[in-house]
Point group: C2
């Protein structure tokens, strides 16, 4: 009973709108939590109880890292400078231990459940739920012989899917980033809301979106040994092995499951793949090796060359698919690259480098930079909003 | 890139099965996390980094509360005594601050995202995903005029729903407990897996399960003020107000949405409601006031009288629905009460008291106690497994 009462007590704070200071509980808070709070300038107030701690800090992944101040009541508090709009991951460090903020919903990122705060973007409604027809997200399990396991995926079906039993739809395979999982595009990215709004506005074709889990270990394999820095031979080999396993899972298990289970248009002209960061790397890996299956390709803050410093060679790399620009253009209807201007130099350099490589090779593509955003969800929401309307426009 | 590499590095540990000690990473861990670990006896090893902390404890809600020991490497560790099978919530307290375990998936419970560990139940497979036809869970939003907001629900559709476009199904409305949300029955309870297995074995009728969010604030209302202990007049009033708002949401928004959106059999004989703890209280509140809508009722660790110490009166309480046992039996095809034998005295006393009241009133019902389990998910999984096969057996 005690917990129930506590929860009801929390209700007392719900609906308390603007304080004199203009700070309000974040939309990403759990029911009734007063903190964290955000104001119109994007400042954030964090408050956490840690009565016996010696040092408490709040670290925003793409934002300020600040010491918090202990108050007389055992709570620690801080107010940050203004932050850019979007969903920002953060962690509270208590005497050296990274902890979540109990007031925040938890999102899977950085290989753990982490706190995040939504800072509203003035004037933006494309990722806000509106009074338009809504698609539904399905939570599905499919068995993969590649991994010999049940694998979980989320599938967005567009509005009126059930009411139009004879309509078939194109499919976008949409991948999360490293340290995230198949829930990221819905819970953090709001891909379903973005597509609902784009479809209602007539800007995107109705489509199915499949969000699969991007980690995969081949059945019977021992785990890949990995030591050393990111570009050590072992690390490169482990990534290759996982990318190949994931590729086989997509092509041999996931796509057949989706085409069997949903009313798809099961041909390459109506199949797209995109992903963010690691998911972008995987997208290029899977699509460029399987152009018989895909005709639309998107990399958001992640591109084919993102994991290597080596100069690319159109004749040799990617099995030579970029060697003949005109043949490539006939096969690939959309090739899209996105990145945020506030991402670190390594990302910017590599993704711009890949764009330059495409230009040199004469490969038609779309390149778009999200102003002011880092390697974070606001960049990828914007990428999806820009990318989805370009899909499935070619007359079959 | 750094995060991606870290994640790949974690892979090195995945798939390392039994250690000499018999401890293996829990199935509830995030990808690749070595800790927490569990052995066949149900002992749990927890390990967390907190190099500058003075005191670190692990507190299992329905289990041991133990000091952890600091190791030379800055990690704190502990091994618990054997615990009963099931999903156990726990929290790590670092210098007075409650924190999540980064190695564990986070589940919404106790009004926050909390860690939990799955301790396998030897010989049980009813909540394990099997090679049987699977239903799909849909993630839906419906607009409620009662709350004037978009509300989120999960909807389980049984296997072959899409392949049988002329089949209509009965519906079970299934509610979470206090401090939990609409995801609990899937993520913690595995209701979809339990039903898949029951349906495949021919033990349950195929049915739709609707899991809605149990908190609701009426449009335009100020938040209910609440002060004082659980049974203070203010607390009782706040719960009543929320129960009434939720009732209106269910009857005026949710049921019409579900009957419009899915192929339901939209009559009282084919509509059931059940819930756990607070959700059990809500179930009795909603169903007994709306017997024109429901004919099957289940309370798991929560019953109509659970929130009061007062002696119930069949003639006066619940609008007198229990006054005429034979009339009640004609309307209500199943009335089910469950509780775990290890729950605290207050739950046991009140739920057994409600059973005694039903017996005195001559009301036919099913009463079942889950051996050895507390106010926790293993009790409610067992309740669902016992309850679902009893539903929708009456010939229409």
């Amino acid at each position: 009973m005690k917990r129930v009462v506590i929860v009801v007590a929390f209700m007392a704070s719900v609906g308390m709108a603007a304080e004199p200071s203009g700070f309000v509980p974040a939309s990403t808070n759990v029911w009734g939590a007063e903190y964290p709070r955000v104001d119109e300038a994007g400042r954030v107030q964090v408050r956490i109880k840690a009565p016996e701690a010696n040092k408490v800090k709040v670290n925003f992944w793409s934002g300020p890292k600040m010491d918090m101040e202990k108050q007389a009541d055992g709570f620690w508090t801080v107010t940050t400078p203004p932050q850019v709009p979007g969903l920002h991951y953060y962690v509270i460090n208590i005497d050296g231990a990274d902890a979540s903020d109990p007031g925040s919903r938890a999102f899977f990122g950085g290989s753990r459940y982490t706190s995040a705060i939504e800072i509203p973007e003035p004037g933006s409604s494309y990722y806000t739920i509106q009074d338009v027809p809504h698609g539904q997200v399905r939570d599905v399990w499919y068995h993969s012989k590649v991994t010999d396991s049940w694998r979980h995926a989320l599938v967005y079906l567009p509005p009126n899917y059930d009411e139009s039993p004879k309509t078939r739809y194109p499919v976008l395979y949409l991948q999360h980033g490293g340290g995230e999982d198949e829930t990221g595009w819905i819970r953090q990215g709001r891909a379903n809301v973005i597509l609902d709004n784009l479809i209602a506005a007539g800007e995107s074709k109705p489509m199915i979106i499949v969000m699969a889990y991007g980690y995969a270990k081949r059945a019977g394999s021992s785990s890949p040994g990995l030591a050393g820095p990111a570009n050590s031979p072992e690390a490169v080999r482990a990534r290759e092995e996982m990318a190949n396993t994931f590729e086989d899972d997509v092509t041999q298990a996931l796509i057949p499951f989706v085409d069997k289970t949903y009313r798809t248009i099961a041909d390459r002209d109506h199949r797209a793949m995109a992903g963010l960061s690691m998911g972008g790397f995987q997208t290029f890996h899977v699509t460029l090796r399987n152009l018989g299956l895909f005709s639309h390709i998107g990399g958001f803050s992640g591109a084919a060359g993102a994991f290597t410093e080596n100069k690319l060679d159109a004749k040799k790399d990617f099995n030579g698919v970029f060697a003949d620009a005109s043949a490539f253009a006939k096969k690939v209807h959309v090739l899209y690259l996105g990145v945020g201007t506030a991402e670190n130099e390594r990302f910017l350099t590599r993704i711009r480098g890949f764009r330059d490589f495409l230009n040199e090779a004469g490969i038609k593509h779309v390149y778009w930079e999200s102003p002011g955003t880092d390697h974070e969800w606001q960049t990828w929401r914007r990428n999806l909003k820009d990318f989805a309307p370009r899909l499935f426009r070619k007359k079959g």
